[in-house]
Amino acid sequence: MAAEGQELTPTSYIGHHLTNRTVSLGDSPFWTLHLDTWLTAVVLGVVGFGFLWWIARGATAGVPNKRQAFVEMLFDFVDDQVKGIFHGNRAFVAPLALTVFVWVFLMNAMDFIPVDLAALFTEHGLHQHEWKPVPTSDVNTTFALALSVWALMLFYNVKVKGVGGWTHELFCTPFGSNILLMPLNFLFNVVEYVSKPLSHSLRLYGNIYAGEIIFMLLWMWAATGLIGSVAGGVLALGWAIFHILIVALQAYIFMMLTIVYMAMAHESH
């Protein structure tokens, strides 16, 4: 979907599909909003959680219908994961895990829609020339999620252990409370606290972004004639099937890490 008069090259094709629809809210580059990322994420969240809310509102303790049974399976799955890791009141952590799982899964799943089909809709339906439909292949989304979880982790660290308890933990674990070991402990913890959101967000971003790139390469191949179409189509089908696993797995991993970080924040050493 290159613009008129522009030569369609692999670089321009990929570059075009990876360009965000931006809205400038201020003077500096920081105030650029990726409208596509944000709006797609909001719509997916509203649809996903709206569906869950609709089912939860009409939930019966009697014999559930198929929709409710499906949602209950999802809830049970998430609750079981939380139960296995997090020991305490699950009233906040379990819905947090559900939110993370459902939202990340839906955002990842946007990858299944071929970019050119999605572009057909965004170009002609929304009249947006540039629209990147997978929010989790935008590093802003994954960092937003990871840093939010990170912030919650810090909040619960302080809330559960108190400022003193948490400070003590920063300086006295994992090697012990010897005064000589304190700098080492602190260094260790700083590295840990910095690496947590980085690995948390970049793992998801990398997986989905790479998946998207591979799809684009295959679709480019599919545009090179009959053999390319068949080969690209078959390989894209294979990759899409494998990608189902990646989409679900990355959502699952993101949820599990969220639960683990919450559990670590609640457990004192």
């Binding site: 580059p29 939930a59 809830f75 939110t99 935008d138």
Partner: protein, 156 residues
Amino acid sequence: MNLNVTMIAQAVTFFVFIFFCAKFVWPPMVKAIEARQKQIADGLTAAEEGKKSLDSASKQAEAAIAQARARATEIVAQAEKRVSQMIEEAKNAAKAEGDREKAAAKSEIEQEVSRAKETLRTQVATLAVAGAEKILKREVDAKAHADILADVQKQL
């Protein structure tokens, strides 16, 4: 990799969704699930109790049947005993009655016999006296010889 305000927008959206989920989605669903779990657990407990009470009831019924059977056997045995006793009693009574009647008849016969003997004796004595009168051709003073006559009578 250009981090910008999108991150903040996404974070805010994330917290809105977390709040929505924690407030409106998770609690009613979990409530329904837990209510059903409780219902099922209660149902299973009730079924277990029902089974137990059924067991005890059938045990009680068996015991009652066994008791009734034993009682019936006892009653039958008692009745049989009573019957044989009654038969025995009737037999005994009949035998006693027979014996009594036999004894009465016997004594009557004996009385009859002794009376007949007495009569005979008297008559024989009379005959003997008459015979002797005829032999002596004289009148024997019956009064004077009463002692002799009595003696004879006794000897007969």
